[in-house]
Structures are given as C-alpha cells and as structure tokens.
C-alpha cells in the first residue's frame, strides 16, 4: 500500500489536549513538517507560552522550554544568542504575544533577533476561559466584555503584523489563516519561509495565523470558520506585511 502522508517526526505521537476544532493542532503539525522538511529537527528548540499551547512542550519532538507569560521572544533570544546553531521558535497566542508580551515582541523584532515566531490569533483568551484579548474585535462578546467590545471602554483591537511592519528589524511578517484547507497550505508555506529565513540568518520572522477557538468564542463551533472568513478577515487582512532581504543584527 502506498503511504501518501504520515505524522511528522517532529510531532510526538501523544494525545493532545486541544479541543476538537481548535487550530493549534493544525499549526503544530505544520511547524513539525517544516522542521522535518528543512532537516533542522535535531537542532530545533521550541519555546512554549502560557495559554492553551503551554503544553506545546509535550508535543514537539525537539528540545522545548516553557517560560513566563509573554516572554517567549526574550527566552528565545537568550537561547539563540547562547547557541546560534540552534533553530529557535517561539509559539505564542494573542494574549501572550500582543498583550502581556508586547514589549518583548516589539523589541525582539527591533533587534531583528534571528528567531521564528509563530503567532496564533484567535481573538480571545482560550485557556483562562474566553476573556477579551488585545485582538478581540469591536463588538465581539467575551467574558470580560459581555456586551461586546466597546471602544469607549476597551479601545481597539491590535493588528500586530501592521504594527511590526514599521520596524526595520522585522524581516518577514505574514498573516495567514487555517480556517480552510487552502489557507492551511498557505500557512505551511509561510511558516517554512519563516524558518528558512532563520537558517539563512535573515533575522526576525513572524507568521500570524488566524485560528479557531471552538470553546471560548461566544459562537457555535461549527460557525468558527465562518467567523474568521466574515468577521476576522476584514479586520486582519491576510498577506505579506514585510519581506526584507538583509543581514540580521541579532545573531547568525
């Protein structure tokens, strides 16, 4: 029998805790495929965040470290500067990266730290139970904005790719999505480029992935993909926000 697909070697054969319909499992697989295909699995080090993907350290087959909320890029910086031969990625959600960890995000990009950041934007805090995220849309209900995000009280959602694109140190920024199979394939391509950039020493690369939260968005799981297509995409347009080819300041 011809085997046309299999579990990537970089993804451990363990039961994941993610909810059915969650995007993390998809993106984990894509990251693992990239590590396999680029043949960097044996020198890859992943940084797991605080949030639903805290357990990412149990799923990837490479060395993993789990640190404080939002500090992934700082931790990745410490690893990369100490061991430049490692391929270091920081996997983060929107609360982690765009709220508590915004300073680390901006400054690791400004330093053009030669790392790869995988940013999952599902517009909500998942693990803590559906609170408002920095990426929550205007009018979108959450457990801390039950009547919907009110700009007078809660301000406006943050567009991270657009924000970072102003920084010379950000070398590659792309926003993709995993709400359809076609977009999953595009996300894989973006992730692979973000890792290839690190191998080539090009500096800070980040892929923002719009993703589903079947449990803590105040909508039915079956309508998640539709929510991304109809509500998130107009606020978070997909595409390449930066693709600069120049030597990096931060490490090899």
């Amino acid at each position: 029998m011809l085997q046309v697909n299999r579990r990537p070697k970089s993804l451990l054969d363990v039961k994941m805790h993610y909810c059915p319909g969650c995007g993390h499992g998809i993106v984990h697989r894509l990251v693992a495929e990239c590590l396999d295909e680029l043949e960097v699995a044996s020198r890859a080090v992943g940084v797991a965040p605080v949030g639903c993907s805290v357990f990412a350290d149990h799923y990837f087959a490479c060395d993993m470290i789990q640190g404080a909320h939002g500090r992934g890029p700082a931790i990745a910086t410490g690893i990369k500067r100490s061991k430049p031969e490692c391929i270091v990625f920081s996997y983060q959600g929107d609360g982690d990266l765009a709220s508590i960890g915004m300073a680390e995000t901006v400054h690791s990009a400004a330093r053009s730290e030669n790392i790869t950041v995988v940013f999952i934007n599902n517009s909500i805090y998942g693990m803590t139970g559906g609170q408002m995220a920095p990426t929550t849309l205007i009018g979108q209900p959450s457990t801390t904005s039950p009547k919907g995000r009110d700009v007078k009280v809660n301000g406006y959602p943050i567009r991270v790719c657009e924000l970072l694109s102003q920084l010379d140190g950000a070398r590659y920024l792309e926003r993709t999505s995993v709400h359809t199979a076609a977009h999953v394939i595009k996300t894989k391509k973006a992730l692979k480029k973000a890792f290839q950039n690190q191998i080539d020493g090009k500096g800070f690369s980040m892929v923002e992935v719009l993703s589903m939260c079947p449990t803590n968005l105040a909508i039915a799981p079956k309508d998640n993909a539709k929510f991304i297509a109809e509500k998130m995409l107009p606020v978070y347009p997909l595409g390449v926000y930066k693709d600069a080819d120049a030597p990096a300041a931060g490490g090899k």
């Binding site: 350290d57 060395d63 700082a74 031969e85 400054h107």
Partner: protein, 362 residues
Amino acid sequence: MGEKLLMKGNDAMAEGAVRAGCRFFAGYPITPQNEVPEYMSWRMPEVGGAFIQAESEVAAINMLFGAAATGVRSMTSSSSPGISLKQEGISYCAGADLPIFFANVVRGGPGLGNIAGAQGDYFQSVRGGGHGDYRTFVMAPNSAEEMGNFPLKCYEVGEKYRVPSMILSDGTIGQMMEPVEFKFETVDAKKLPIPEWAIGANPGRPRRMVGSYDLREGELEKMVLARAKRYREVEEKEALWEGKMLDDAEIVLVSYGIASRASLAAMKLAREQGLKVGWFRPITLWPFPKKALTDVAKRVKSLLAVELSLGQMIDDVKLAIDCRVPVHLHARPGGVLPTGEEIVESVRKALKAGSKEAACCR
C-alpha cells in the same frame, strides 16, 4: 591571580563573573549598577560571549532563563526596583532548577527611593522574592575585592544544587574603588561541562524539556520536595561567615555587607574605649550561618544587629539563636550609612538596656 587592581566594586563583580566563566549577560540601566552592563558590553564580546541591553528588567531575566537553559554561565544585574521586576523570572528559574546568577546593587527604597546604598531588600533576597516555595543562594560581599571573587562561588554552588544564586550588594560597595585581587584561576568557559539537562542541538539523544509546571495531581509537590532536600543540603554545607574579637566579647555586632564595614570601625572604636565588643558577619545570607551564630550567642550577653534598613536580618538573627540572648537593633533605612561613633552609642545603650531589647534606630 596575584595582581592587585584598583577597581570599582561593580566593575570588579563584572570582571569576576567573566573570569568565572560567564558568557551571557543581559541587563537594563539602573543606578547604582550601571557599571556592570557597561563593562559587560565590551568585555563579553572580547571573550566570545553575548551581551544584550534588554528592553526591560523583565526581558533581561527571561533572556537569562533561555540562556541558562542551554547550560551557559549567565548573569544579570540590577538595583532594587529592577530586581522587583525580575522576581517572576527568578521564580521560573528556581522552578525549572536553572542556576542563573544575578546581582542586586541595592538602593534606598521603597518605590523609586534614592540611589544611595541600602539594605532594604534583605527579606526579598533570602525568602525567595518571587512567588512560590523556593530559595536563592545569597552572598553579601563587603568589599570591591569580594565583589570580584564571589561570582565564582555563586556559579559553583548554584550549579551544584541547581538553584539561582545572587550577590546582594549595595550602592556604596558597587561604587567605591578599592584594590582588588582575583584569587582564583580564570575559568576556561569552553572546558566547562555541558549539563545533562541543558537544551540545545540534540542529535542522537532523547529530547529535553525545561520548565516549571506540572498539573498532574501531587506531582508538583514531589518536585518542590525534591528541591527542598537540596535546600537542606545547602543549609548544612554552604553557610559562610566571618568573626572578629569574639573570644572575650560581651556584646557582638552582627551585620553584613557595607554595614559590616561600619560595624568593624565601631568595634575598633569601642575596644579603644574598653568596651568588650565582638564582630560577626554573615557572608552568606541564605543559608544564614545559624550554627556559628548560636555558638557565639552562647558566650555573650547580647547581640546588636546593625542594618541599613528598618531591621530585616535581625529576624534571622533571632531565629538562628532561638532568642537565647537579647538582640538589639541599630537601623538606618533610606540609604544612610551609620558612622562608627553612632554605632558605639548604640552599643552603650544596648549594654545599659540589659535583657530588654533596645531599638537604637533614630
């Protein structure tokens, strides 16, 4: 080794860390410790190490978390408010059993306080500091020379027991210039063994994980208890202290760091005046030299704690000696250095107070 150099305490500490094998430094400017990152900014590249001026103390300690996880000898330094910001990261390092090394060049507090030398961060240093159950190996130098020689000990103890280690200094020791001799062979960082827990390139070995969490019922308790066993070993084996004129003393000044220098001047002055004063100085604050101080307390009428705070170490003094004799207090918080004369005044008050504890704080 052997050569005497005239150095600022902060520069000596930075050079001492480099000679002890430090190859990663991340820090953020704050007075009175700025000499440390300034020194490291040129010295680290010279020895093939990495220096990063972080965007915040929070980022700096997390960079250390990552660097230390690869097994490299790492360092960060800051002063009081900055050390408060680092506490979450230090807790994560303690929880992940990472032997990071950091220095607090203490300034007057609380809040923004001032930039003079002070000792108000004692509790924070010896009781963990951040959240959760943990301890940090704490050394308190009282000279520029000790600033230069203590980093090596911090690395050795930290790595042996897998605990964070720190130098608790202050603005005065950090800023003053004194002759410094580095009394150890410079460590060849390349020859340091790579720890069996370090993450990094991993061809052909099982993958490794560094972290501080375990949500399975009862598992975290096992982790913490295993660590506590190492803490007990540190307490048994690693306490350091120094004493002078203890044999015939009626009252003993107990102080650490810069306060021990003022106390030493006071002891000499008091002896000239015929007062039987001794001097005891904890060199490690955690572990606190309990046994040695208890032995002293058995022979004297009282102790006088001299501190540049409202009185924090005095609690450990009382705990150590089980309140065997009265412990008086001479306290100067807010970045003020006591003179030898005023400490002698307190000695006289304490001697008069007898069994009643005297607070000689102004």
